[in-house]
C-alpha cells in the first residue's frame, strides 16, 4: 500500500514546491521523471503516424502535466515552472528520438558497406530538429531569454500571455523577442544547411 499512497504525483508536486523554495536537488530529481514521462508519452502516441500528424508536442507536455502533478498546483508560478522544464525536456525528447532514428537506420544496414566506405562514413544525415536544437543552444549563449521564449512557445505550448507571465515581461516584448529569435534561428540554420 505504501507505494500507492506515495504516488508519483505527490512526489512531483513536492519536488516542484521544493524547487520553488530554492532546492537544486529537487530539480535534479524532477528532471528524469519528467523526461521519462514525456519520452513514454511520445513513444506511445507518436508511434502512430496518424496521431503524430495531428498531435502537437505541446499536447504531450500538457498530458505529462496532467499525469505527473497531483493537484492543480495552487500557484501559477509552480505550474509555469513545470511547463518550463517540460518544454525544455520535450525538446530533448525530440532531439534524442531523431538521433535514435538515424542510428537505427544506420544500424539496420540493409546494404553492406565496404570497409573503406565505412571508415570514411560521414557523420550521417543531420536531423533537422538537431540543427534547430544546436541553433537554439547558440542563441541561448547570446541571449538566453530569446531561446526561452522559443522553447516555451514551440515546445511547451505557451501562449504569448503565458510566456509573458512566466518570464515576467510584457506580451509585446514576447512578440518582439520571438520575432528576432525566429529570424536569427532561420539565418543560423540556413547558413549551416547551405
Amino acid at each position: 500500500m505504501e507505494s500507492a499512497k506515495h504516488s508519483v504525483q505527490e512526489t512531483v508536486t513536492r519536488l516542484l514546491v521544493d524547487w520553488k523554495g530554492g532546492s537544486k536537488e529537487a530539480l535534479d530529481s524532477l528532471t528524469p521523471i519528467v523526461y521519462n514521462e514525456l519520452r513514454r508519452l511520445a513513444d506511445h502516441y507518436l508511434r502512430d503516424e496518424h496521431a503524430a500528424a495531428t498531435l502537437q508536442p505541446t499536447a504531450l507536455v500538457h498530458e505529462a502535466y496532467m499525469r505527473l502533478v497531483a493537484q492543480n498546483l495552487p500557484d501559477w508560478e509552480s505550474r509555469s515552472h513545470f511547463f518550463g522544464i517540460a518544454a525544455h525536456l520535450m525538446r530533448q525528447v525530440l532531439v534524442d528520438n531523431a538521433r535514435r532514428r538515424i542510428s537505427a537506420k544506420r544500424g539496420s544496414g540493409a546494404q553492406k558497406v565496404s570497409i573503406e566506405e565505412s571508415v570514411s562514413f560521414a557523420p550521417g544525415p543531420h536531423p533537422e530538429i538537431e540543427a534547430l536544437n544546436d541553433a537554439l543552444n547558440a542563441l541561448a549563449i547570446i541571449d538566453e531569454r530569446k531561446a526561452r521564449v522559443i522553447e516555451l512557445r514551440f515546445f511547451g505550448g505557451f501562449s504569448a500571455e503565458e510566456t509573458a507571465q512566466a518570464l515576467g515581461i510584457s506580451v509585446a516584448t514576447v512578440g518582439r523577442e520571438q520575432r528576432l529569435a525566429e529570424a536569427w534561428l532561420h539565418r543560423e540554420i540556413a547558413a549551416h544547411e547551405s
Partner: protein, 934 residues
C-alpha cells in the same frame, strides 16, 4: 556577435526597421548604422531571414514530431498474451494500444480485443487496483456494453485486459456514412444512454465517453467500450488523478470537473454523453480547443459558453431549424458547467430525448404555455384539426397533468440521483483520502444516515430499495475492506450488509423472482461470511454461508444449467469447506470442497474464457488434497493432486508463458511426488512414481529458472525441485542432484534470507547431504552438514512459532548432529546440540499449537532427547549410565504421552504413526537393555 551592447544595438535597429516599409529599410539602415558596415550587414541579414522565418521553427518541430517513432515499431504480431495471439493493432488511446487477438488453442474460435496497458509509473498500483475492480467490471452485462472477460499481466509484466471484440464504426462516422436523419441519430443514441444508465446503477462511471468508445456493430447495435476502465487504469489515491483520464487526445468530451480536477461523478458521464450527442447531431465538436495548455483548456471547457447546437450549424439552415428548440435545450442542460445543473441522471437525458421524439414537452425546456401548446398541437394534429373548442379544453387539461407528472417524476429521480451519486461520492471519498480515517468515517456515517432516511421513505418503491441495497453493499465493502485498502471496521460493514439484506429481503418478498435482487442477496451472504470468518466468528460465518447456499441450491434445482447459480453454489461450497477446515472438521471440509470443485468445473465449461475459474479449480484441488492427506486418505489426496495436475497441464499448454500457471503446475507435481514416495510425508513408498513426478517438476522449475535466473523465488523453486528429485533418486546421481539443489538453495537464501520455504529446504538439502555422507562413512562431513543445517535455520531471523516445517528440520538436524557427536564421544557438544532443539520446542509448546503437524514436532524432539541420552548411557559406566538411562526414559515417556494424545486426532497420518511406533520401539529397546545390564 556576443557582445551584449552590440547585440542590444542590433535588436533595437531590427525592430525599428520592421516598423518601416520594406522599400524604405535599406536607406534607413545605412543612415542609422553610419559607417558600421558589419552592423548594417548583420541587421539586414536578419531582416532577410525574417521574411522567410514565418512558421519556420514551428514546421521544424512539427516534422520532428511526425517522424517520431517511425524508427522503432515493436514487433507485436504473433506475440502471445496469455492464451491469446495478437493479430494486429486496432488502435491507440490514452492508456495503451488495443490489438485484435485470437485464442491460441483450437478449442475456442473467438476473436477478442486485448488492451495492453502502457507500463506507466505505477504499474504495481494499477495491477492491484485492477484485480480489485476487474470483477465488478466483468459483471457488467448489457447488450450495449462490450464485455470485459479477463485480464492480468503479460509475461513481461505489462498489464492487459481481454475484452469483447466489436467490429464496428464510431457512432459519429456511422451516422455520417449512412447519412442518418436527426431522428435516426437520436434513436441510435438512446441505447447508448441505456447502457450508461445500467452501469450507473452499478455505481460505475465511464469517465471517458467519446465517439471512439461508442461503436456501432455490424448489426447496427451500439456497443460501449472501456467502461470504467479509464479509472481502473489510471486512478491513484489522489483525486486529481481523474484528470488524467482526459488525456490530451480527447479533451473535447471531458466535463469541466474532469478538466479542473474536481471529483468525477455520474454527472460527468451526463456531460460527456451530451458532448457526444452534440457532435452526433451537429457534426462539429462543442468546443473549439485551439491550444492545449491548461489555461486554454480551462477557458474553453470551463468558462466559454457552448454554442447552441442550432447556431453551430448556421450554414445549414434546414438542419439549424430542426435542431433549434428542444434539442438546443436538451444539450444545454446536459452540458451545464456545474454538475448539479445538468440532468440528474442519464435516464432523464434519455427520457427527454424520447419525449422530443414523441413530440412531448421536454423537461429541459423552461415552462411556457405556448411551448406546451405547440407541442400538444403537433402531437394531436388530428383532434386539433377537429375543432378549436375541444382542442382548447384539451390543452388546459394536458398542461396540468403534464406538470404534475413532471413534478412527481422529478422527485423520484432526484431521490434516486442523490442515492446513487451520494453513495458514489462516499465510496470515492472513502477510497481516495489516504490516512484520514476520521474524515472517512464521518463521510461514511453521513452516507449511511442519508441512506437510512431514504430507506425509511422507500416504502413500496422496489426499484429504490434495490438500488439502496446495492449502495449498502458497496458501503459495506468499503468499510470491511473487501476490495479496498481497508477502512477496517468489520462490525460497521456487517451492519451495512445487514441493511442491504433487509432491503433485498423485502424486495424478494414482494417479487420472489427478482433475479438481480436474488443475486445481490447471495453476494451479501458471501460477504457476511467472509467478514465473520475474518473476525473469528465461525458459527455466524457458517450460518451466512448456509443461507446463501440454500438460495443457490434453490436456483440450481429450478435450472441446473443456471450458470450464475452454479457460480454462487461453487462459492458457497468452497466457503463452507474452508470454514469446516478451520473448525477442524476435515471430513466435511473435504466433501464441501469436492462439491465446490465440481461446480467450478461446470462453470468453467460454460465460461471457458474466465481464467480465474481454472486457477480457482487448481487451487481448490490443492487445498482438497492437503486436507485429504491430513486425514490420512492418501489415495484421495493423490487423486485430487493428480486432478489438479491435469487441469494445470492443460492450462499450461494454453498459457505456456504464464509464470503463475507454470509455478502452480510445478507445485502440483511436487504434491503428487510427495504423496507417492517422499519419506518426509505420508506416502505410498512408490519411489519410481515420485521420481517421475519430481522429474516433471524439475523440468518446469528449470524452465522458470532459466526464464528469469535473477528471480530468487525461481532459483529457490529450482533448488527445491532438484532436492526432491535427488531424494527419489539413487546413487550416484543422488549426490549430484543434492549438491546442485544445495547450490541453488544457498544462492536463493542469500538473496532472500527471510523466506521460510527457501530456508527449510536449504536445511533439508543439508540434512540429506549429511545422511549421504554417513552412507560413505564420512562422519566429519555429516557433522559439518548437520551443523550447516542448524546454522541455515538460525540465520536471518528466528523460526516463527507457527513455522512447523522449519521447526521439524531444525529438530531433525539437531538430533542427527547430537547422535553423531555422541558417536565421536563428544558428550558436551552433543548435549549442546540437543539443547538447541529442546529450547526450540519449548517455545513451540508455549505457543500451544493445535495441529498434529506442529505438536508432532515436540514429540519428535523429545524422542530425539531420549535417543541421545540412551546412546550416551551406552558409553557411560556406573551411576552416570543410570542417570542417563533415567533421563532417556523420562524423555521417551514425555514423547509417548504426546503421541498418545495425538493418536486419536484428525491428521494423525500413517507417517506420524510410524514415528510414534519408532519412539515406542526405542523406549522398549532401552527397557530391554536396562534389564539386560542389570
Amino acid at each position: 556577435m556576443t557582445d551584449p551592447d552590440r547585440w542590444r544595438q542590433v535588436e533595437e535597429i531590427f525592430h525599428k526597421a520592421l516598423e518601416l516599409q520594406e522599400s524604405e529599410r535599406g536607406a534607413w539602415l545605412e543612415a542609422v548604422c553610419g559607417g558600421d558596415a558589419a552592423l548594417c550587414a548583420e541587421v539586414s541579414s536578419l531582416l532577410d531571414s525574417d521574411r522567410q522565418a514565418a512558421a519556420f521553427v514551428g514546421s521544424k518541430v512539427e516534422r520532428a514530431v511526425r517522424e517520431f517513432g517511425a524508427a522503432v515499431r515493436p514487433e507485436i504480431e504473433g506475440r502471445r498474451i496469455g492464451a491469446y495471439r495478437l493479430i494486429r493493432e486496432l488502435g491507440r488511446g490514452g492508456m495503451g494500444a488495443v490489438y485484435l487477438a485470437a485464442r491460441d488453442d483450437e478449442q475456442y474460435e473467438s476473436d477478442v480485443a486485448i488492451k495492453l496497458v502502457h507500463p506507466g509509473l505505477d504499474t504495481d498500483f494499477i495491477l492491484r487496483r485492477f484485480r480489485r475492480e476487474r470483477q465488478i467490471l466483468a459483471s457488467l452485462q448489457h447488450p450495449n456494453i462490450a464485455r470485459l472477460f479477463d485480464g492480468g499481466s503479460a509475461d513481461d509484466g505489462t498489464p492487459y485486459l481481454v475484452m469483447e471484440y466489436i467490429e464496428g464504426t464510431w457512432i459519429t462516422k456511422y451516422a455520417a456514412q449512412k447519412d442518418l436523419t436527426v431522428e435516426a441519430r437520436l434513436r441510435l443514441f438512446l441505447p447508448v444512454c441505456a447502457a450508461v444508465e445500467y452501469a450507473h446503477r452499478h455505481f460505475i462511471v465511464h469517465r471517458d465517453l467519446k465517439p471512439g468508445n461508442i461503436l456501432i456493430d455490424r448489426n447496427g447495435v451500439p456497443k460501449l467500450l472501456d467502461f470504467g476502465i479509464s479509472k481502473l487504469l489510471h486512478s491513484t489515491p489522489a483525486d486529481a488523478a481523474d484528470t488524467q483520464d482526459v488525456g490530451m487526445m480527447t479533451p473535447d468530451y471531458a466535463s469541466p470537473e474532469q478538466i479542473i480536477g474536481d471529483p468525477v461523478t455520474l454527472m460527468s458521464d451526463v456531460y460527456s454523453l451530451g458532448a457526444v450527442l452534440y457532435e452526433l447531431l451537429s457534426k462539429v465538436r462543442p468546443h473549439r480547443i485551439e491550444q492545449c495548455t491548461p489555461l486554454a483548456l480551462e477557458r474553453a471547457i470551463c468558462l466559454d459558453e457552448i454554442t447552441p447546437l442550432s447556431a453551430a450549424v448556421r450554414n445549414d439552415p434546414p438542419l439549424a431549424r430542426r435542431l433549434a428548440g428542444d434539442l438546443d435545450n436538451i444539450l444545454l442542460r446536459a452540458m451545464q458547467k456545474q454538475p448539479e445543473r445538468r440532468y440528474p441522471s442519464v435516464e432523464q437525458l434519455a427520457e427527454d430525448i424520447r419525449r422530443h421524439l414523441d413530440h412531448q414537452p421536454v423537461l429541459a425546456r423552461r415552462d411556457s404555455f405556448t411551448y406546451r401548446a405547440s407541442k400538444f398541437v403537433r402531437r394531436n394534429r388530428l383532434p386539433v384539426a377537429l375543432g378549436g373548442m375541444v382542442a382548447a379544453s384539451l390543452i388546459t387539461g394536458a398542461g396540468v397533468s403534464i406538470r404534475e407528472a413532471r413534478i412527481a417524476q422529478q422527485h423520484a429521480q432526484d431521490v434516486r440521483k442523490l442515492a446513487t451519486t451520494f453513495v458514489f461520492d462516499v465510496e470515492q471519498a472513502a477510497r481516495e483520502l489516504p490516512g484520514s480515517i476520521a474524515v472517512r468515517q464521518l463521510v461514511t456515517r453521513t452516507g449511511l444516515e442519508y441512506l437510512g432516511n431514504l430507506s425509511r421513505g422507500s416504502a413500496n418503491d422496489w426499484d429504490l430499495k434495490r438500488e439502496l441495497a446495492t449502495a449498502y453493499l458497496r458501503i459495506g465493502e468499503v468499510q470491511g475492506g473487501a476490495e479496498t485498502s481497508n477502512l477496517g471496521d468489520p462490525a460497521a460493514a456487517l451492519k451495512s450488509y445487514h441493511d442491504a439484506q433487509e432491503l433485498l429481503d423485502s424486495v424478494l418478498m414482494h417479487s420472489p423472482g427478482d433475479r438481480q435482487a436474488l443475486l445481490d442477496r447471495m453476494t451479501v451472504s458471501h460477504r457476511e461470511s467472509d467478514l465473520h470468518r475474518q473476525m473469528g466468528q465461525l458459527p455466524f460465518a457458517t450460518e451466512a454461508t448456509q443461507d446463501g447456499l440454500r438460495r443457490a441450491e434453490a436456483l440450481l434445482a429450478a435450472n441446473p444449467a443456471d450458470i450464475d447459480a452454479v457460480q454462487y453454489g461453487a462459492v458457497f461450497h468452497l466457503d463452507l469447506g474452508r470454514l469446516r477446515q478451520l473448525s477442524g472438521d476435515l471430513g466435511r471440509a473435504a466433501d464441501e470442497i469436492a462439491t465446490g470443485i465440481r461446480l467450478l468445473k461446470q462453470l468453467s465449461a460454460a465460461r471457458p474464457e474466465e481464467r480465474e475459474t481454472i486457477s480457482n479449480i487448481a487451487a481448490s484441488q490443492a487445498r482438497l488434497g492437503s486436507i485429504q492427506a491430513e486425514l490420512g486418505r492418501r489415495q484421495q489426496a493423490l487423486d485430487s493432486y493428480r486432478d489438479g495436475v491435469s487441469v494445470l497441464e492443460k492450462q499450461d499448454l494454453n498459457f505456456p508463458n504464464n509464470v503463475h500457471v507454470s509455478r502452480e503446475l510445478m507445485l502440483a507435481y511436487a504434491h503428487v511426488g510427495d504423496t507417492l514416495g517422499n519419506p518426509a510425508y505420508d506416502n505410498f513408498d512408490n519411489e519410481a512414481g515420485a521420481r517421475a513426478a519430481y522429474s516433471k517438476m524439475r523440468d518446469v522449475a528449470k524452465k522458470l529458472h532459466e526464464a528469469d535466473s535473477a528471480d530468487a523465488r525461481a532459483t529457490s523453486d529450482y533448488g527445491i525441485a532438484l532436492l526432491r528429485l535427488g531424494i527419489a533418486t539413487s546413487m550416484p546421481e543422488k549426490k549430484t542432484l543434492l549438491e546442485q539443489a544445495h547450490g541453488f538453495l544457498e544462492g536463493a537464501a542469500i538473496r532472500n534470507p527471510k523466506d521460510s520455504p527457501t530456508r527449510f529446504h536449504n536445511a533439508w538439502s543439508e540434512v540429506e547431504l549429511g545422511d549421504l555422507s554417513l552412507v560413505t562413512d564420512d562422519r566429519a562431513a555429516a557433522v559439518r552438514y548437520y551443523g550447516m543445517a542448524l546454522n541455515t535455520l538460525q540465520t536471518g531471523q528466528a523460526i516463527e512459532p507457527t513455522d512447523s516445517s522449519s521447526q521439524r528440520w531444525f529438530v531433525l538436524a539437531a538430533g542427527k548432529l547430537a547422535s553423531e557427536l555422541v558417536r565421536s564421544n563428544d558428550r558436551m557438544a552433543a548435549l549442546a546440540a540437543l539443547e538447541k532443539a529442546l529450547q526450540l520446542v519449548e517455545r513451540v509448546e508455549t505457543a500451544a499449537p493445535q495441529s498434529v503437524t506442529s505438536r508432532s514436532v515436540m514429540a519428535r524432539a523429545w524422542q530425539m532427547a531420549g535417543t541421545v541420552y540412551a546412546a550416551l548411557a551406552e558409553r557411560e559406566r556406573g551411576a552416570q549410565r543410570e542417570r542417563d538411562r533415567t533421563t532417556a526414559r523420562d524423555w521417551y515417556r514425555k514423547s509417548m504421552e504426546e503421541w498418545k494424545k495425538l493418536e486419536p486426532m484428525q491428521g494423525f497420518t500413517g507417517l506420524r504413526r510410524r514415528e510414534m511406533e519408532a519412539t515406542a520401539a526405542e523406549q522398549a529397546a532401552l527397557d530391554a537393555s536396562t534389564r539386560g545390564s542389570r
